[in-house]
Each structure stands twice: as C-alpha cells, then as structure tokens.
C-alpha cells in the first residue's frame, strides 16, 4: 500500500512575547491509503495541533509534509486552501456548523466554494446526508438538531466531496454514548468503503475499531501500534 500521508520531522512552535513554546518536537509519521488511525494522548500532548498541521488548518514551523503525493509546504496559501477544499475532509469536535443554515446548506457550502454547479453540489450533499442517516433532517436548521445529529451533519459535510483523507478531531467528545456509537459506526462504515481516516481521540476503546493507534506525549510519538484485529 502506498502512503497517502508522509510526515517527516515536523515541528510547531508558538510565540508568546519572548517565550517560545514547542508543541510538536519533530514528529515523523506515515499513513498508507485506506488506513484508519487513532491519535491518542493526554491533554496538551499536541494531538490537535498535529491534526491541524495534517489537515492544513495550520502551517508547521519546520519539517516535510506530503499528502496524496503533493509536497504541501511548497504550495502557496491559496493552493493549500484549494487542496484542502478538494482532497481533505475535516470533522470538528464541536461540529463547527453555521447555526443559521440548514443541514444541507452547511453541507453544500464547501462544494459551492469549489465552484461545483448548484444542482450537482446539492445532489452530492443529499447523498452525503443519506450516508449518515439524516435524509429526514436535511432541511432543519442546524441549531435545531441534537448534538449527535449535528456531528453527523459535520461528517456529511466532510465527505460530500469524496475526500482522499478524512480528519476527525475528537468527534465524539461532546456526545452521549448512544450518539457516539452512531458516529463511530459511520466512521467504521466509511473505513470499510476504503476511506483513509485519521482521528484524534481520548477514548482508549476506539483502538478496537481502528487499524492503528499512535500515542503522542509532549510533542513526540512515543508509541505506534498496529491493532491486532486489523
């Protein structure tokens, strides 16, 4: 299997006045296409920061990052945005939906930004909402949906454009157990269909459903385990 993610010696520092805090201290990591990876670690270990670098929401201080065969750090800002828009999907812990838009309007937004024609964009959005079981709530305002439903809308938005890699940042952290199971079953189904998924989580149990568990501590990978069931 070829690697769809290749990270070499990535660092990320934040400046606060004269003080420099190094959150990622040279992380190297690769993910083959189709793999479901869980990134775990304590709070402050650098999990979310690492995911932001992979998901191109942030820019590493140094290192190399290849996604889907493209040397990301050589791209200009607008090219990176376009790459993220077209090839990556991102599921946020707090759903990150626009509250005044309906479920389908939230899902269609990234497609419209890609200049996908309206009719195709709405058709793809409907399909995505059906895949997460929300075909009956697609015209509800997102702030009228339950937490679990909102997270499913967020997943539908992240998969509507058939991304090469799906990133999820603690997608079940705000959900009750039933909704969590629901969301995880969607990820399992997506994985079964060949989707590459990188998910940050606190839940040790998710090691049972992912192919691999990477443990981060203090900005470095301290453990990288291929799970027995995979």
């Amino acid at each position: 299997m070829s690697n769809i993610i290749e990270v070499t010696n990535i660092t990320k520092s934040f400046k606060d006045g004269d003080r420099v805090t190094e959150v990622l201290k040279g992380v190297s990591f690769s993910v083959p296409k189709g793999q479901f990876v869980a990134i775990m670690g304590r709070s402050g270990a650098g999990k979310s920061t690492f995911l932001y670098q992979l998901g191109l929401l942030d820019h590493p201080t140094s290192g190399e990052l290849m996604l889907d065969g493209v040397d990301i750090l050589k791209l200009k800002s607008e090219e990176r945005t376009r790459f993220r828009l077209e090839r990556l999907g991102y599921v946020f812990q707090d759903y990150a939906l626009l509250p005044d838009l309906t479920a389908i309007e939230n899902v269609v937004l990234p497609l419209l930004m890609q200049n996908v024609p309206d009719d195709i964009a709405y058709e793809k959005s409907k399909q995505a909402l059906m895949r997460v079981g929300l075909e009956k709530r697609m015209y509800s305002l997102s702030n009228k949906l339950s937490g679990g439903e909102q997270q499913r809308v967020s997943i539908a938005r992240s998969i509507a454009h058939d991304p090469k890699i799906l990133f999820a940042d603690e997608p079940t952290a705000n959900l009750d157990s039933e909704s969590s199971e629901n969301v995880i079953s969607i990820f399992k189904e997506l994985h079964k269909q060949g989707q590459t998924i990188v998910m940050v989580t606190h839940e040790a149990d998710y090691g049972k459903i992912t192919d691999r568990t990477v443990l981060l501590a203090d900005g470095v990978i301290i453990e990288d385990t291929i799970n027995a069931h995979s």
Binding site: L57, R82, F92, L112, Q114
Partner: protein, 410 residues
C-alpha cells in the same frame, strides 16, 4: 463562489440582525434623503425663480430710473423716466428692434366695491401690456389706446381682486373705488401667479395716464419695458435705448446716466447660476452626514467581524479562501450602504414631493415637484462607494483571521 451566492450570504447575514442593520444604515438613509430633498427643492426653487424672472420673457429689456443698480444706492434720478422717453423709445428710428414699448407705474391702495374692500397692487400701463405679459382677460377686454389717451377711468382686475371684491360674481361692468375715484371694470384676468415685476392676481391695471392724473399725481414712470423682436437683438437694443435716453436726458458722460437697464436673459442666467451653486453647496453640506454614516458602517462592520469570528474561522476551515472572506464582508457593507441609498432616495423623494405640495398650498406659489435624477444616480453611486471604502478595513480584518484561532474563539 458566484456573485449570486455572495449576495445571498450577505442578505441572510443582514437579515439575521434586522434592527442592527436598520440602525446602521440610518446615517446613509438620512444623508442620501437630505441630498435628494435639497436637490429637489433647489431645482423647484430655481424653476420658480426663473419662471418669475422670465415672466416677462427673456427678450425684454427693463429700463429702471436712477442709478440704483450700479455703484452705491442712490435716489438720484428716480423720477427720470418721463412720457417723452416713452415716445422717443417707441420711435422705430431710435430703437429699430423694439417690438413694443410700455410704461409701468407701481403703487398699492385699497380697492372698494360696496361693503367689500381689498388692498391691491395698482399698475398703470398702456394697452400693449397684455401683449408683453401674455395677460389677456378671461372676461371682458383690456383697455384700449383711446382709454390711455383719454385717461379713462377703466380698470382690469386680477383674479384674487375679483373674488375678494365680487364674491358673488358680477364684477365685469361694475364700478370699483380707488382713492375715492370710481373705475369701471372692463376686464378680469385669469389666475396667473406672480412674475418678478407684476403680481397679476393681487393687481388692478389702469391706463398709466389715469394712474398719474387721478391716483399718484406724478409725471414719471417706475419702469419702461422694451420688448425686443428677437433675442439676438437684445444687446443692440440695449445700446439703442441707452443712446436714446442719453439724448433725451442731455447726458454726455455715460457714468452720469440717470437710468439703468436690466436684461432679463442675463438676470435669468445669473439666477440660474446662483441657485445651482447654492443647491450644490447645500448638497455638499448634507454629504457630510454620508461620511458620518460611512464611519458608522465601518464601526458596526468591525463589531460584526469580531462577533462572527467563529463563523469566519469555520468558513475558512471548510475551504473559504482569504479572498472569499474579503469579498463576503465587502459585499455585506456594499449591500448595506446600497440599501441605505435606495431607502434614502425613496424617503427623500417622498419628502420633497410632500414639501412641494405644502409649499405650493401655503405660499400659493406654483411650486413644481422635480425628481432629481442626477441626485438619485449620485446617491446610488456615492452609497456604493462609501460601502466599498468603509467596508475594506473590516473585510481585511475578517480575511486575515487564522481559521484555528477563529474556531477557538468563544
């Protein structure tokens, strides 16, 4: 994103905060409405003044006694225009392009009919007066040359004098009293409003000979009007009038002229320039409120950017580029100001229409409502430009936000 999508996004963002949107655009609404109101009323006033100045027609030359129009105010020579001047000016070899020459004497006095009375403007003139002023009676006829020569006690009355003295009608043929002298009403004028020289509605017109002999006891005229055959001959006619009057008054030095000449066309042009300049000046003053409105919009947009930090981060996280965000916020401020501009135009137009009706009724002017198309176009353009200029800074602030920081914002 397409133009339509930006527009939709802007409109829905503005709809979300209706009351804030309304308050934000208030400055622009007031500014544009004030400009429209001022321009409309300015043009209405200009038209009214010009119509009064041009009541005589632009090819009339007015001879005024004395030198009051040039140099320091002077009463010297206020009685300088006499019958001989009228006769000389009427001779074709003196003033070849004069179509008509008429004298005017002004005064005002109580007119009476039985128990009714009214203080009227009294004008003494010749039988040629209706030709120059386009003032033919609706009832009866104007007095004749014979009436003028014979100092006949006849009068043509204005419409208001008619209704005041003869509320039940029957004015024509009746005899009214002015200074205890009896005058027979031979004609009644239609309602004509006022020109710069004559207020026909409030006026009574009698032969100038009768006015001089029976009412004022004078031998001079207050004005002599020379109606020129065509506008092209105005300048040459003015020269002819000057030469003729200097000859009859034995004046060798033009600086000693005991008369002056007002050219109606020049007066109309000057009035036009002054009222236009005044209108634009007032519009410029009103435009200051647009500047204040623009700053208000910038302020609110900055608040909106801070308030919507999370939304901006979210849009960026799902793929909006810096340009997308910049355009979205620019669209919002332009839509906001454009909306303000359109409401301002509607409000200003309505207010100026109402004002024109009220002024027309209260002041009994023939005030015309004029929709200032130029002002409306200017309003749209200016409000759009204000939206663009004052929207750039907040839009740039929004576009610069990092998605991660924006998403973390609570």
């Amino acid at each position: 994103m397409t133009f339509e999508q930006y527009l939709q996004t802007s409109l829905s963002a503005l709809k979300r905060n209706r009351s804030r949107t309304g308050l934000t655009i208030l400055g622009i609404v007031i500014g544009i409405a004030a400009i429209i109101l001022i321009m409309s009323l300015g043009k209405g006033a200009q038209k009214l003044i010009l119509s009064q100045v041009q009541g005589l027609g632009t090819k009339s030359v007015v001879v005024v006694p004395g030198r009051q129009l040039e140099g320091p105010p002077s009463t010297v020579g206020l009685e300088s225009l006499k019958k001989r001047d009228l006769e000389e000016l009427s001779k074709p070899y003196n003033v070849p392009h004069a179509a008509h020459v008429i004298p005017l004497i002004f005064g005002n006095d109580i007119t009476e009919y039985e128990s009714e009375n009214f203080r009227a403007q009294i004008y003494g003139s010749s039988d040629q007066m209706p030709v120059i002023f386009d003032a033919d009676p609706v009832e009866g006829m104007f007095f004749s040359q014979d009436d003028v020569v014979g100092s006949a006690n006849v009068v043509v009355i204005g419409s208001k004098v008619n209704t005041e003295l003869f509320p039940n009608g029957g004015g024509l043929g009746s005899r009214i009293k002015i200074k205890d002298k009896s005058f027979k009403v031979v004609g009644i004028l239609p309602s004509k409003g006022a020109s710069s020289l004559i207020n026909f509605d409030d006026g009574v017109i009698i032969p100038y000979t009768a006015a001089q002999n029976y009412l004022f006891g004078t031998k001079h005229f207050d004005r002599i009007l020379v109606d020129v055959d065509t506008e092209a001959n105005i300048d040459i006619t003015i020269e002819d009038v000057k030469q003729t009057l200097r000859m009859t008054h034995d004046i060798d030095d033009p600086t000693k002229d005991d008369f002056s000449i007002v050219n109606q066309k020049d007066l109309a042009d000057r009035v036009g320039v002054i009222t236009t300049a005044l209108t634009y000046f007032l519009a410029a003053v009103a435009a200051i409120s647009l500047l204040v409105g623009g700053i208000g919009i910038m302020n609110i947009m900055l608040v909106s950017v801070t308030e919507r930090t999370r939304e901006i981060g979210l849009r960026k996280a799902v793929g909006a580029t810096t340009k997308n965000i910049l355009l979205q916020f620019l669209f919002e401020s332009v839509v906001l100001t454009l909306l303000g501009g359109i409401i301002g135009i509607i409000l200003g137009t309505t207010a100026s229409f109402v004002a024109s009706v009220v002024i027309g009724r209260l002041a009994s002017f023939e005030w015309t409502f004029i929709f200032p198309i130029g002002g409306a176009v200017l309003g749209i353009v200016v409000s759009t430009i204000i939206g663009l200029i004052f929207g750039v800074y907040p839009a740039r602030q929004a576009a610069r936000k990092s998605p991660i920081e924006a998403l973390r914002y609570e």
